[in-house]
Symmetry: C2
Subunit: 579 residues, 2 copies
C-alpha cells in the first residue's frame, strides 16, 4: 500500500509513529517559513506540516501544490500546537519528511463543498467531482450500509438472494419496456425487466420458500423528480403466507434498517385501509406526521344557497389549528396555490373562526354565523382556527385537498423532519376503471389475488372487488407495495380476461406462469420496496438522484458519458435494424 | 403463516407438540388401513401418517393426493416406529388431524430428482420444476451464501458497494455490446455494460477509496458452455495500491469464501508469470493440481533426420509417469484426440520407456535408444514412463500440448476433485498483435497500466511491454483478473493511440475518463471475479448454467418464457426503429 493509514485514523495515541498518508489537498496555508496542508480522503482530514527547519526542500514543493492535488506524504506524527477539537485527527499533525505529488489537478469547474456553486447540469457532467462533496460521500456510504443491513436481516430470516435475468420478454401490461434487439434471433427483442415479478413467483413454484433480491429495474417513462429510467428494488417473495405475515416480516425489516443505519427506533406501523386513507388524507400514501384530517362537509355545507357547494359532488374541508390570524395576503396565496394547473381547483373558500368566537369567511354572503357554528362543531374547529374548503368532483377534490393539507402542514411547521411515521395501507381495489380506454387496469398488477370473500363479485361487480394488496408508507412516501398472488390457473385466466387479454394473448405472454401453476404452486405473496426512495428517506433527501451514484437527467441522459448516443451503422446492420 | 414449522425442523424433542406443516408430496405409500406421505420443502422432509383410527375421513383424502401436490397438514408430532437415521426428522412423524390440499399438480414432464430423465431443452422449458431438484436447490443456496460471504468480507475491509448504471454508452472495444434504443432520444442507443470498468475508475477519482459491486454484465457473443449473454461479476477497485496489495486482499477474500461456503482451507496462492505458465503448461490458466509440466525438446529432438521435428518451430513433450504399459489402442485414441479439429495437431509421437529400460517409439526408424536415452534424461523420464511429443508452430503446439496434458491428467486420475490449487498469473503482455487486422489489441483492456520499467518501450517495442495485470486461477479455471490502471491523461492517450484510436475517437468514447484524470486522479487498480464461475467451482459443477437460476441456451434464448420475441409494431415505431 502507498499509505500506512487513512486520513481519518491518526490521533494522539499515534504520536511519534512514522506514517504514510495519501489523499487530496483540501486546503493549503502558506505562512512563509511554514506551510500547512489539509490532506483529505473519504475517512477524514489530517494536517500535514512543512517548515524550513525540518525539510526546506519539501517546503518549496508544498507551496506549489494546488487544491485537489493528490499527495503521498511520509513523516512523523507530532502533537499539534493549536488543536482542532472538531475532528478526531485534530490533536495531531504529520511533520512531513517525504512528499510525492501522485497527481496534479486542474481547477475544478465548481467548488467541491456541500453548498456548491455548480448548477445541476454542470455537476452531472462532472459527476465524479460532484461525488467528492461530503453530502454525496455520506449518501453513498449510507446506501451501502442500508443494503448490507437489508441483506443481513433477510439472510438471517432464511431468505435466499437469487438473481433473475435482465434479458427477458416484453409485455404490454404496465409501463413501457426498454427493449434490446437480438443479433442471433433476427427481428426479435429482449426486454429489460420492470420488475422480476413472474420470476420470483416461479421461484416459489420451485420451492425456494423465501426469496429476495436487490435488483435493478427499468421503466421507459417520461421522467419526474423521483423517477429514473433505471432504479433499484428490494424484491421479496414468500410461500405459505398470508398478508399479515408479510407485513409483519417487512415491518421488522424496516425497523432493523432504520435502527442500524440512522439509529432511529421506528414506531409500530399503523394500518389504514385504502378507503380510510383516501377519505381522511385524500391520497393512498398519507403523511401522518401531522393530523389535519380531511372533513367531509356535504351535510353542513350544502343547502345554504351557495351554488358552488350545492352543485358539487363533494365538499371537503380541513381545519388549520390556530391559523385564524392568516392575513389576506396569505389567504390569496393559498387560493393561488390550489388554482395552479398542477392542482387545478377552481377556488378556495376560507372561514376564520376568530379568537372572539366570530366568523369571517370568503362567502359571508351565503353563510351566516349559525351555519359556520354548526359546521365548525362538526369538524372539530375551535376559536382561533382557520377552516379551508374545496369542492368539486370526488376524485379531483380529494387530490386537491391532499395537496392543500400538505401545504398547510408545511406552512404551519407541523411536519417534523426528525420523526418517522410508518403505516400499512391495505384493502386496495383489485381493478381501476380507465374511462378513456373503457377498460380495467390492475391497480397493483395482474398477478394480485382478489380477497377470498370478494371472489363471487369478480364477474358481477368487478369494481367492488378488493385485493390482498398493501403498501408500506412512511412520511407520505410510498416505500413499497405488495400483494398475495394468484396461484391457480383458473383465477389467473379470469383476471387476465377481466383486463382485456384475449385467450391467445394471455397464453402467449403469461402461458409459462399459468403452466407453472399446474405443477403444485404454493400459496405465496410478496413485496417490492423502492431502494432509492428508502435511501433518500434515510438520508433526508427529497430527490432520489442524491442517493444514486450516476443518475440520469430528466431526458434520460447521462450527461457525463453522453449516453444514449449514436451507434455504428455496422452495429445496426448486424442487429437487423437497417439493411 | 400457514405453517408452524418447516419440513426440516422437527425431531424427537418436539414429540407431543401440535404443529402445522406445508410442502410438496415427495412420496406416497398407501398401505390400506394406513397411508404415509413424505412432505418436502426446501428445508427437509417430514413423514405424515394417516390411519383409520385417528381420522378415517382424512385417510381417504390422503390416498388421493399425487406427487407434487401442495399440502397443509396439522397434527401431533409422534415417535416413529421405524426410524430413518439418514435424516434429522427421521425419528418422528405427524399424526395428521387436519389436511388441506393447497394445490394439485399435474404429472411433471420429467422426474424431479438429481438423476433426472429430462433432456436439457425440456428442463430449461420447465426450469421452475428443474429448480426443484436437490442439486439445483443446493446450488442456489450455495450461491446465496457465497454472495453473502463476499459482501461481508469486503464490507469489513471498508469496501463500499456502489451501484453503477446499466444504461450506458456503446464502445467498439472488446466484445459486442447489447444496445437499447432510446425512445426519448431518436436514433440514439444505450448499451448494456460489459463491465462497469470506467465507472469504477471514476469512483476512485471521486475518492471512494475501495469499491465493490456484485453486478450483472452483458456480452453479445456466440455462446459456449461456460458463457452466458448475461453473467455476474464481483467487481472491485482500490486506490493508492500496488499489484501486491490487490493480490493480497483478494487472496484473503478467496480464502474466506472457500472456508465459509464449503469449509475448505485454500492453500497459499502460488505466483507464476505469464511466460512461465505458457512455457510449463501451454496456457495462462494452468491446472496445477498435477505436475506433468511441458518439456521443451528442440535440443534433443531435432537433428536426427526426422523431418517433422526438424522442420517444426517447436517440439514439446510431456512425461506420463508409469504409463509405459499404454496399449496400442489407447495410444491410437490419444493420437485421434490430438487430431480432433478442436485441437488440430497433425499427429502424436510417443515413446514407451519400458520397465526393462528399453524404448519403443512410434518413430523408431529415426530415433535409436541413445537419442531416447538422452531425451529421457533431460526431461526427467524414467523406466515405466510414457513420453508424448507434439511439434509445430510455437503458439499452436503449446495449446495442443496443454490439451493433451489435461487429457492425460484425466486418464491417469491425477486430478483430485477434492483439492483446490489457487495461483496468481502475473506479468501479462500489455498488447497482443492481431495478425488478421494488423493491429494491437489490449490483452486485458485499454485502461491497464504498463509496468513502469517498460514505459520507454511503449513506442519502440510495444510487443515487449509487460502490464501490471494479474489473473486469479484455481484448478485451471480463470476465476478473474485485474490490473493497475492508467491514471493520467498522457498515458491513456498513448495507449488508445497504440490501439488504433484516432484522437477524435478516443475523445468521443473515453473523453470523460481522460478529463477526470485531470482533476486529481489517484493511483488505483482492481479486479473482477466471475461470480458464476466461482460458484460453479465451489459447487463442483462443470457448467455455469447449473449455478444460474434462469440461464439461456446456446442460442441466447430463454426457453421458459420464450425470449427474445417479436414486439408490437407500435412499440417499434415509438422507438423509431420503423416508420
Amino acid at each position: 500500500m502507498l499509505r500506512s493509514h487513512t486520513c481519518g485514523e491518526l490521533n494522539e495515541s499515534n504520536i511519534g509513529e512514522k506514517v504514510s498518508l495519501c489523499g487530496w489537498v483540501q486546503n493549503h496555508r502558506d505562512l512563509g517559513a511554514m506551510c500547512f496542508i489539509d490532506l483529505r480522503d473519504r475517512h477524514g482530514i489530517t494536517q500535514l506540516s512543512f517548515n524550513e527547519l525540518s525539510a526546506s526542500s519539501l517546503l518549496e514543493v508544498s507551496k506549489n501544490v494546488g487544491r485537489e492535488y493528490v499527495l503521498r506524504a511520509t513523516g512523523k506524527v507530532i502533537e499539534r500546537s493549536s488543536k482542532n477539537e472538531q475532528i478526531s485527527t485534530g490533536g495531531i499533525e504529520i511533520q512531513v519528511e517525504d512528499l510525492e505529488v501522485l497527481n496534479q489537478s486542474s481547477t475544478p469547474p465548481f467548488t467541491i463543498e456541500d453548498e456548491t456553486d455548480g448548477g445541476d447540469e454542470l455537476r452531472m457532467k462532472y459527476r465524479y467531482l460532484d461525488l467528492r462533496r461530503p453530502k454525496l460521500q455520506k449518501n453513498m456510504f449510507l446506501r451501502h450500509r442500508t443494503s448490507q443491513a437489508i441483506r443481513n436481516f433477510l439472510s438471517k430470516e432464511n431468505f435466499l438472494e437469487i438473481e433473475t435475468p435482465y434479458l427477458i420478454k416484453s409485455t404490454p401490461e404496465g409501463a413501457r419496456d426498454f427493449v434490446v434487439p437480438s443479433r442471433m434471433n433476427t427481428d426479435q427483442f429482449y426486454a429489460l425487466p420492470q420488475s422480476p415479478q413472474t420470476f420470483k413467483q416461479l421461484l416459489m413454484v420451485s420451492g425456494f420458500d423465501k426469496y429476495f433480491q436487490i435488483v435493478r429495474c427499468f421503466r421507459d417513462e417520461d421522467l419526474r423528480a423521483d423517477r429514473q429510467p433505471e432504479f433499484t428494488q428490494i424484491d421479496c417473495e414468500m410461500s405459505f403466507v398470508q398478508q399479515k405475515d408479510i407485513c409483519q416480516t417487512f415491518e421488522l425489516l424496516a425497523k432493523a434498517v432504520f435502527k442500524e443505519t440512522i439509529n432511529i427506533d421506528l414506531p409500530a406501523f399503523e394500518t389504514m385501509t385504502y378507503e380510510e386513507a383516501i377519505n381522511l388524507y385524500g391520497n393512498d400514501k398519507p403523511d401522518t406526521r401531522f393530523e389535519m384530517q380531511i372533513k367531509h362537509l356535504d351535510k353542513f355545507a350544502k343547502g345554504h344557497g351557495f351554488q358552488v357547494f350545492d352543485g358539487a359532488e363533494k365538499v371537503l374541508g380541513i381545519v388549520a389549528k390556530g391559523a385564524s390570524n392568516y392575513t389576506r395576503k396569505k389567504l390569496d396565496a393559498l387560493s393561488n396555490f390550489v388554482k395552479r394547473p398542477q392542482i387545478g381547483a377552481k377556488g378556495l373558500v376560507y372561514c376564520k373562526y376568530n379568537e372572539d368566537g366570530s366568523f369571517k369567511s370568503s362567502i359571508d354572503k351565503f353563510f351566516d354565523a349559525q351555519v359556520w357554528q354548526n359546521l365548525a362543531e362538526n369538524c372539530d374547529a375551535h376559536a382561533g382556527d382557520l377552516i379551508l374548503i374545496l369542492s368539486g368532483t370526488e376524485n379531483q377534490v380529494l387530490k386537491q385537498m391532499s395537496e392543500l393539507r400538505l401545504e398547510m402542514g408545511r406552512q404551519l411547521n407541523l411536519i417534523d423532519n426528525k420523526i418517522f411515521k410508518p403505516l400499512w395501507v391495505t384493502d386496495f381495489p383489485l381493478l381501476e376503471w380507465d374511462e378513456e380506454n373503457q377498460r380495467f387496469h390492475a391497480m397493483h398488477h395482474p398477478f394480485t389475488s382478489p380477497k377470498t370473500e370478494d371472489f363471487d363479485k369478480l364477474s358481477s361487480q368487478p369494481k367492488q372487488v378488493k385485493a390482498n394488496a398493501y403498501d408500506m408508507v412512511i412520511n407520505g412516501v410510498e416505500v413499497g407495495g405488495g400483494s398475495i398472488r394468484i396461484h391457480d390457473r383458473a383465477t389467473q385466466e379470469k383476471m387476465l380476461s377481466l383486463l382485456g387479454f384475449s385467450d391467445k394473448e394471455a397464453k402467449e405472454q403469461f402461458g409459462f406462469l399459468m403452466d407453472a401453476f399446474e405443477y403444485g404452486a404454493p400459496p405465496h405473496g410478496g413485496i417490492a420496496l423502492g431502494f432509492d426512495r428508502l435511501c433518500s428517506l434515510l438520508a433526508g433527501e427529497d430527490n432520489i438522484r442524491d442517493v444514486i451514484a450516476f443518475p440520469k437527467n430528466n431526458q434520460g441522459r447521462d450527461l457525463m458519458i453522453d449516453a444514449p448516443s449514436e451507434i455504428d451503422p455496422y452495429q445496426k446492420r448486424e442487429l437487423g435494424l437497417i439493411n
